[in-house]
Subunit: 376 residues, 3 copies
């Protein structure tokens, strides 16, 4: 897919055996897609999953009502739900977002470089991603580039998020997508999770279609949460980049001065058709390509860290420590699993250039690291 | 073992390469069994482990006392312990349980089906499990089918659990088993852990033998805990299904209206002699086969989730969130490792059909998912 | 390297296939070392990583100042920092430690034996480790054997740790090492993390060189933390054994009567050039070789458990339970990732011989277990 970006996996002075590229996990995964199980373990397999996803027809429940004759159906499948409204004093926060398929460079510096280790990174590093792209009101135009992760959706307790999602994937990927949120409250209509015969509105946004999700920022939702595709091809599409973050702030509460979201995930050959695994943060690999976070001493910092692949990660930042899950236990290194959140909060007091990285040994050296810069 | 259930791994319209079946982990593991290390990595290897286990003789300490001449022996090996009694106001709660070896269907729906994705699951799916089976008083008769997990053992703080365990494995599996509990208090005699020369009573229940464990529900044991085989062949036998749960309730405290235990684990070819890995919940794979949990709005829910294999899992339930470990951090997705417990507690307020699943991407599509149904 | 210790992997009555030795993880990892990525997946590859590390020259910033012309440089790279001093009432705690390369026996009992399962362990089990060794003041002489883990560094809140580190690796390993601490506070000069062009003093201790780290025991650092090599070859060198623990005690606070550090990690063929994987605790595998912990009833116990490899582990101790992260949730089995800490604290009340082990099934049977002995 990335065209001329594909090719040799060696550059002058850098040569890694095939297994080397795969050292941190071959990246194979099994997809259950409408009637079939498909193993995605090598470059061509993603196309098979896409073809299977293209064959998944819009379920009755996504058009009108779930058939009362569906095998295994329950009374709950016939329930009807009101659309949530903001709490008194709350507001509606609206976003327009389209799913699209940009070319995405995992190591955009040229020459490709790991600025931590001073290492030259062998190319190619561009693949066909799937990403959520922020649009202006009414999908009038793009409001920024399609990116991994997608736009961060923010609101306060008592608000309602109205998220208009359009399936803008190119025709060749003729498949449904969705947006499934974590943390916020929603009725089954706004779950965004394809469920075969039990699928409801919002859980199958076909090619060219739009859907508006309505989610409530209940008090228990304060924090940061991932959202991601949960349509018929959710596993592959999430791996490709169809994910982003929601932040629910306390009502009128204090906010961090610097708040960032960091997704830890691999981009592997079965997903990218590239020749090696990259261990990524926000779709990029290696310090200088991954987010460089800039903070001033005295600022309140919140780093929301998510896993979003098949692996478990361990988030470490040099020169700092925080209270694990807001309790009494002090840590500088915390486990985070797929779609799990850890929130690293502290007041900045230590100027300098610092590393942050996944402490899984082979992940840190395979790209899952970045710089955190503090000025006095 | 499963006889006519074994055979081709393809059915009409469904075909997965061998590696596909194994995508989520090949399921090999090393067993240390009385004098030998045995790798269980393919179908026939389990028989080798069984043969090794059959050669493990009953240690002296399991019959009378640990030999004072055992290499590495300590004064603690000669200690004698009283049998615990209930606290004032407490009671003795008795269970009769036998270990047996049922044929077990991982995907019992016919045709085999994943009701989440609407996917036809290729068979066969029956294997020879090991399971704890609830019996009536005095082992008079069976009190239910042998199942994965075994019976949930419940008591209150101050009580004593008296658990009578019989090794009812068929003659061909001529090996000792035990029951090792987590969380509750016990003396070394009731630990249920085979330890070679240091083995005590209760840590080797030979073929046809019985043993009565006595465990104390101390205040710190409030919560849910796994139990499992910890005899000479514990790793393989735990993988086969010899596990279950203990719930210790507060004395006269409030109880959940709906309380369920969910074990996350794989059943892989080295263990099952089947041709593919199944990612399971309570011994079943794929929604519609795994537990369907039914709840009414307003009910207090407690879901106790355990890992019980070589992997780490991440438990997610749609449309809900809970306080991680009872603290202040809100989550809807929590890591759980082998023999670890997470307790998901909330008051139900969101009617509909919801998914619960492991959020490890390839686990969710490989069977580790189920339905959670809420009526108004 | 271990010379005559290498050879056949079978002994009388014990034979395991090659894959068997590798069952719990092949132990391959990718190293990014000054200009190159090197896969360490088999015995000879460590030498390639060493050769690459030997080619990494001392960066300008480790000698004097970071070059203002370094690509990607920031104002923070030109900051200068004062050396921390103890708080009023605090003290300076000094250590002299050298990095060296001892021969290390993973299973030192003879005959090699797993005292838990009564299993004979096939040799060889000696490899060329890298380890931190405690020295007397001024590096006058050794103060104990080079060991895995290195010396435990202890201080109280308000103190400053002054740790003098010498690179005493044999000439054939002509590479820089460092000591990077977790938890304590330090300026960038004392981070001990090699960062290519952004490297500062203390992040490149060349062959034969010395450096003095100065770290502050701030109040939030109370607890136990790992330290480890973070030089140009950090991943391989940490795998080899260049790690240890720091314990920061509360000022004048109560201390545990028995306090131990337990590092969970694998020693695999790519690192050891041995023929099998060993799942280790503190560099040893199998009960009787791993630490045997001896405690008396009534003593306050603190076990600080760390991961220090590519894997996640699950720490379990029989017959006991503790409050997870000091909160309200009771556990006897807790997940711990690479360079993460869990602190297991309780007052001893249960005499006997107990097992402690990683509950990842194949880890427990592959050596990651030990004995915990309690006298009345």
């Amino acid at each position: 897919m990335p065209g001329s970006e594909q090719g040799s996996n060696s550059v002058a002075g850098v040569s890694i055996g095939r297994r080397g590229f795969l050292a941190a996990g071959a990246g194979a995964f099994l997809c259950s897609i409408g009637g079939q199980e498909i193993l995605v373990e090598k470059a061509g397999d993603a196309a098979k999953a896409d073809a299977a996803a293209a064959r998944v027809k819009k379920p009755a429940g996504a058009k009108a009502k779930i058939a009362a004759t569906a095998p295994g159906t329950s009374v709950v499948d016939q329930l009807e739900f009101a659309t949530p409204k903001p709490q008194p004093g709350g507001k509606v926060v609206e976003y327009w977002i389209q799913a699209t398929a940009p070319l995405w460079d995992i190591v955009p510096t040229r020459p490709r470089r790991d600025y931590w280790h001073g290492t030259r990174i062998a190319g190619p590093s561009v693949f066909r991603a799937f990403a959520y792209q922020l649009m202006t009101e009414g999908f009038a135009s793009t409001a920024g580039p399609a990116a991994i992760p997608g736009p961060t959706l923010e609101c306060e307790v008592g608000d309602v998020l109205r998220v208009h999602v359009r399936n803008g994937l190119p025709d060749k990927y003729a498949q449904a997508i969705t947006m499934h949120p974590h943390g916020v409250r929603y009725t089954p209509d706004y779950d965004g999770a394809y469920m075969g015969d039990f699928t409801r509105a919002g859980a199958y946004i076909g090619p060219g279609e739009e859907f508006t999700y309505v989610w409530e920022a209940v008090p228990e939702a304060v924090g940061a949460w991932p959202y991601h595709d949960h349509g018929p091809n959710h596993t592959l599409n999430s791996m490709r980049g169809l994910f982003g973050a929601i932040i629910v702030h306390p009502k009128n509460g204090p906010r961090a001065d610097v708040e960032r979201v960091l997704f830890l995930h691999s981009l592997a050959p079965p997903t990218t058709a590239l020749k090696r695994v990259f261990q990524c943060i926000n779709g990029r690999a290696y310090a200088g390509n991954t987010p460089t976070i800039e903070v001033k001493a005295g600022q309140r910092v919140a780093l929301h860290v998510f896993g979003i692949d098949d692996a478990f990660h361990d988030f470490h930042i040099h020169g700092h420590r925080w209270r694990k899950d807001g309790g009494n236990f002090s840590t500088d290194n915390q486990t985070v699993g797929p779609a799990e959140t850890i929130s690293v909060r502290f007041t900045e007091d230590n100027p300098g250039r610092w590393l942050y990285h996944c402490h899984v040994m082979s992940h840190q050296d395979n790209g899952m690291a970045g710089f955190y810069l503090v000025t006095p």
